[in-house]
């Protein structure tokens, strides 16, 4: 299997000629857990959207395993990157398992008929997240933590080398946050996934992240937590957040 490489090269991202982050250069090799942090409005989501290929970079380049996410064919992207959004999915009459099954969508035919392999992968994903006992419950009947785990099971079933999560811990209580973070660490180690997430839970995530990308004043400072703690603006942000 090819080793992951995520490269941001002299990248400028933003909306309509207004750069939010400029001259960003950073690189991740191999499966790592990357925390994208910074104040609200610092450009975390903009950078996330650009990496998801939902936003065209203004200049510079993003290379995910050698390919730019924008423009990239929808099918190719679905095999490379899976995504978990901040806002929990809350619709009735759809079960935990049905949502996990949608993770197989890039691999099924037009009528989404699941092959034995597809079913096996979905079952393994549900088991891995320890939600197989609630798989037939409706998504609006389970807890916030279980709902978020369902979305991660879905992403796991999509079977991609990259997992990008937008504030996955935002709507969770403390025990659910720690559990979710433990799951993400295991995903990056056991499944060799590169996990990139945005979060404000610095105290929980900084100690376990392999790499930090700190968005501040239109630039991104990249490094290990030890590196960043030497940076005065990061220290200021860190002290204010805690």
């Amino acid at each position: 299997m090819q080793s992951n490489s995520l490269i941001l090269n002299n990248l400028t991202v933003g909306y309509k000629n207004k750069p939010v982050l400029s001259a960003v250069s950073a690189a991740i090799e191999g499966s790592q857990l990357v925390l994208l942090c910074g104040k609200n409005g610092s450009g975390k989501s903009t950078l996330m959207k650009s990496m998801l290929g939902l936003l065209k970079p203004m200049s510079g380049e993003i290379k995910i395993n050698g390919f730019a996410p924008y423009p990239m064919s929808i099918a190719k992207k679905a095999a490379l990157v899976s995504y978990v959004a901040a806002k929990p999915v809350n619709i009735n009459n759809i079960t935990v398992r049905e949502i996990a099954e949608t993770g197989r969508a890039p691999y099924t035919s037009w009528n989404h008929s699941m092959s034995p392999t597809d079913n096996k992968i979905v079952e393994q994903s549900l088991e891995y997240l320890q939600i197989e006992h609630i798989q037939h419950k409706n998504i609006d009947e389970v807890s916030d933590g279980e709902r978020q785990k369902t979305m991660i099971a879905r992403a796991l079933a999509q079977d991609t080398p990259y997992l990008l999560l937008d504030e996955p811990t935002a709507f969770l209580d403390y025990p659910s946050k720690t559990e979710l973070i433990r799951i993400l660490i295991r995903l990056s180690k056991e499944f060799s996934k590169t996990v990139v997430l945005t979060s404000h839970d610095l105290d929980l995530l900084i100690p376990v992240s392999d790499r930090l990308w700190f968005c501040n004043n239109g630039e991104v400072i990249s490094g290990s937590s030890a590196d960043l703690h030497k940076n005065p603006s990061f220290r200021l942000f860190y002290d204010k957040t805690l």
Binding site: A78, S82, T102
Partner: protein, 342 residues
């Protein structure tokens, strides 16, 4: 997502109900007709006189088939809109799509007479149909543009109603300029009716809406993914832009064609998808699409039977019946869905 035994049983029950209502609607009308007349029409037409044959073919069969087509098409367009807008209150009528189609019809029927051109009349085939579809497309474009900017469902809904009001104002200006003959034709069209179609127009309606219905099955998988949200769908291999475009064309054709021929039949498109979800307890479009088609046909047949039978003489306006039966469903949805979608 397989079809479960429970769903199969429900489909069989609904199909039987549909069959029963087809027969009931056929024998309902100002001239009494029995089932035996229908059998004679198909198997032994020599036994019937010419008038009865015309009555059966051009009036009853046309009306019953139109009810099935109109109900199914409106319900499907409602389902597609609710999924794409992720808004349980979306539907062709409440979002002003039907008003847009009405504007198209008003232009075709009365606008031509205002300019001194010979009127098409409301039974006027292709010109009225195309005009209605373009009217609904114009309103739909504004709603889509707005829904991309405004994430709040209720705001989009209010915008739809405001657009509907503007379109109604424009229609009343055309009405003011129109001659009395075309004005009367338009007002009667506005009451909604399944009986105004000729046999040929019914065939035309079928040719337009049936391919749309069949096509929608192929959108089942992306529609299922769209329920999770546009970002999830986009990251799971769905081309969200082309899905929006397909749904846009389908809803304009389905709702536009029905409105052109049968008048604005309110609340069918919004209420029926909820009834179908409530019966089948699923969000899977491979189940929901056939379910709304059947439920829509059933709903419209019931409405037609009521409109034919409730008045001592004559026929009640059909859109009065669809509003009286459809609105309670919508009120129930608003009360129930305080926190979650659908």
């Amino acid at each position: 997502m397989h079809i479960s035994l429970r769903h199969s049983i429900l489909f069989i029950i609904l199909a039987l109900l549909l069959l029963l209502l087809l027969v009931l609607d056929f024998i309902t009308g100002s001239t009494p007709l029995g089932l035996s007349d229908l059998f004679s029409y198909w198997f032994n037409s020599d036994a019937l006189n010419d008038e009865t044959i015309i009555l059966i073919r051009d009036f009853r069969i046309t009306r019953v088939v139109t009810a099935v087509l109109a109900g199914a098409a409106l319900a499907l367009s409602g389902l597609l809109m609710q999924t794409i807008f992720r808004n349980p209150l979306a539907g062709p009528y409440v979002l002003g799509i039907s008003s847009g189609a009405g504007f198209g019809v008003a232009l075709a029927v009365m606008g031509t007479s205002a300019l001194g051109i010979n009127a098409f009349g409301t039974g006027g085939g292709w010109p009225v149909l195309i005009s209605a579809a373009m009217g609904s497309a114009a309103v739909m474009l504004v709603i889509i543009a707005a829904s991309l900017k405004m994430r709040d469902n209720v705001t989009v809904l209010i915008l739809g109603m405001l657009l509907g009001a503007v379109v109604s104002a424009l229609i009343s200006i055309i009405e003011y300029a129109a001659n009395s003959l075309s004005l009367k034709a338009y007002v009667i069209w506005g009451m909604g009716s399944l009986s105004a179609l000729s046999y040929q127009n019914m065939i035309l309606l079928a040719t337009v809406v049936i391919p749309g219905m069949l096509l929608s099955f192929f959108a089942g998988k992306p529609l299922n993914l769209f329920l999770l949200g546009e970002d999830y769908a986009g990251m799971s291999g769905v081309n969200t832009k082309s899905l929006r475009l397909i749904v846009f064309i389908l809803t304009c054709v389905l709702a536009g064609a029905v409105t052109a021929f049968c008048g604005p039949l309110g609340f069918v498109g919004i209420a029926v998808p909820h009834i179908a979800r409530w019966i089948f307890r699923t969000q899977n479009h491979f189940v929901l699409i056939p379910a709304v088609l059947i439920c829509g046909a059933v709903f419209m047949l019931v409405a037609d039977i009521l409109s034919q039978r409730m008045a001592a003489t004559g026929v009640l306006p059909l859109n009065a019946i669809t509003a009286i039966t459809g609105v309670p469903v919508i009120i129930y949805i608003i009360i129930k869905n305080q926190k979650s979608y659908f």
